[in-house]
């Protein structure tokens, strides 16, 4: 691995601002690395080499003359392929959208472009951010850089795989039922689902309007806060202000029943969560158990709302072009035709109560600590285990409630040696305090210094496909 791909976003930004690193030199280093490792990872579904080099050259000239516009000037950011980027196809990883070329940037891309960020290409996703990992789509699914035979999580799978494999310092994802936090968890990264509507969804292909969130995936908490600073609605940052405040005095509510009673986590995941709670105590936080409604209640309400809203988006295509979907997407969405209007309204009413319960818990605690995935990442071709683990998670409660939630690495799976993860949950628009807790945990643990065996990815051989 060359030095440049290994730079954190923060370090690259500092080097560019100090004119020690040119954006052109940086992107060339990353492009060479992408060329070497992406055939093994399949994170990118489209690369714009000439265009991004041209933009990097322009950024270099501007910085030489006038200095940086923002901390992201000259920094390449990965974009999940459900976000519109002007002049590029937004395929949503689907046959149905292969010819759709965006004429304007999504609002969040526009913000980043104004800041001088670069967009090297579009990243793999589950089809329409729902159906995956699948091998019956026009592009292969992204692989987990920690072990490319394993699932990287989804649906923002390419975003996490690209960042974990050091192809990019940061990427954007979307999270409707956990699609930022799941791949961040499986790839050992930091993934934030912000407060609902803190980051604009305009120009992002919807999965479920009232559950969709846009957020960053990075290798460190500091990098994550830096990206949120640039894409969040004005007036709520800065998010980097409390990163060095430590954990002393923090009140942490441990939602232990999620993984000990509601869905029994794998033993290595449960141990990692206990050890994480002990880290908070050791660093001076006060940790006590807190109860929320059962995980199953959150999940069932989420599913009614998510699938109903998704079916509303896809109604016409599912009626007329169903054969063009991957099987997994089609199967998941068709259920949405068979919920009634009453079901949907009742789910939204129950959502009011569930959201209130989360807010109430956060009256007594600064952050909540909860499980993320209940299992380590499984093999990407093991359909039975993928089905089994798909619902074994504790991410949906915070899509339902709209509270910000961040995924952090907290261990390694006992058998597979792949990342395990936890979630921290904050008050609405309390991202600065949430980042404080996340940074304190990150600094007190060794996990951010671990990384995949990147040299093993430079094989030149394409990703293996399961026999079907």
């Amino acid at each position: 691995v060359t030095e440049l791909p290994d730079l954190t976003l923060w370090d690259a930004a500092e080097a560019i601002a100090a004119k020690r690193l040119s954006p052109l030199e940086y992107i060339d280093g990353l492009l060479a690395w992408i060329e070497a490792v992406d055939p093994s990872v399949d994170a990118f579904i489209a690369l714009r080499i000439d265009e991004v080099r041209m933009a990097a050259r322009a950024a270099a000239d501007e910085i030489a003359r006038e200095g940086v516009r923002s901390p992201l000037h000259g920094i390449p950011i990965g974009i999940k392929d459900i976000f519109d980027v002007e002049g590029m196809a937004t395929t949503c990883h689907s046959r149905l959208r292969l010819d759709h070329v965006a004429t304007v940037d999504a609002a969040v891309v526009k913000r980043l472009r104004r800041d001088g960020a670069l967009f090297p290409g579009k990243l793999a996703t589950h089809e329409f951010a729902l159906g995956g990992p699948s091998f019956d789509l026009p592009f292969p699914p992204a692989r987990n850089p920690w072990n490319r035979d394993h699932h990287p999580g989804g649906s923002s799978s390419g975003s996490a795989a690209a960042v974990a494999a050091r192809m990019l310092p940061a990427a954007l994802g979307s999270d409707t039922g956990g699609s930022i936090r799941h791949p961040a968890a499986h790839c050992g990264l930091v993934g934030l689902k912000p407060t609902y509507e803190l980051v604009s969804r305009e120009g992002v292909f919807p999965l479920a309007y009232s559950l969709d969130h846009v957020g960053p995936i990075t290798r460190t908490v500091r990098d994550n806060a830096l990206v949120l600073d640039r894409i969040a609605a004005h007036g709520h940052g800065p998010y980097t202000s409390q990163l060095d405040s430590g954990l002393k005095g923090l009140r942490v509510g441990f939602v232990r029943h999620f993984h000990q009673e509601d869905t029994i986590a794998a033993p290595d995941v449960a141990s990692a969560l206990d050890e994480a709670a002990a880290v908070f105590v050791r660093e001076g936080a006060a940790v006590s158990d807190v109860r929320l409604p059962r995980l199953a209640e959150f999940e069932e309400v989420t599913r009614v709302i998510m699938i109903s809203e998704a079916a509303a988006v896809h109604e016409k295509w599912l009626q007329e072009r169903a054969n063009e979907y991957g099987q997994l997407t089609r199967r998941r969405m068709l259920s949405g035709f068979f919920f009634s209007a009453i079901d949907y309204v009742q789910a939204q009413r129950r959502r009011t109560e569930l959201t209130g319960a989360v807010s109430e818990a956060l009256r007594n605690f600064d952050v909540l600590l909860a499980a993320n995935a209940m299992d380590a990442p499984c093999r990407i071709d093991d359909e039975a285990t993928l089905d089994y683990t798909y619902v074994r998670q504790a991410r949906m409660p915070f899509n339902i409630s709209g509270h910000p939630a961040i995924s952090l690495m907290c261990g390694l799976g006992e058998e597979c040696g792949l990342p395990l993860s936890l979630q921290l949950v904050g008050r609405k628009f309390g991202e600065a305090e949430l980042y404080r807790a996340a940074a304190g945990f990150e600094q007190a643990t060794p996990w951010k210094d671990l990384r995949p065996d990147l040299e093993s990815l430079v094989s030149g051989s394409p990703s293996p496909r399961p026999a079907r």
Partner: protein, 78 residues
């Protein structure tokens, strides 16, 4: 509204699948994916059965957008 009123829940389990398919406009889809539609009907019934329970009539549907910052809403229209 007063508390303790009756709750309506929907139960489509008794409706035959051909009627459901027509109602949903999925006749064309059913020609190739009839089994998947059958699974979808069962899946919806299973999920619905899991969460429906009496709710206090005073509980209104969630309105997340009302909690969104004005700046974010403004960005949507810009």
């Amino acid at each position: 509204m007063a508390e303790g009123g009756p709750e309506m829940t929907s139960d489509w389990n008794a409706v035959d699948i051909d009627t459901l398919v027509r109602w949903a406009g999925l006749e064309q889809t059913a020609r190739s994916f009839g089994a998947e539609i059958g699974d979808a009907v069962k899946n919806a019934a299973r999920i619905r059965g899991g969460f429906l329970r009496p709710l206090n009539p005073a509980v209104e549907p969630a309105e997340l957008l009302s909690a969104a910052p004005a700046a974010a809403a403004a960005e949507h229209s810009s």
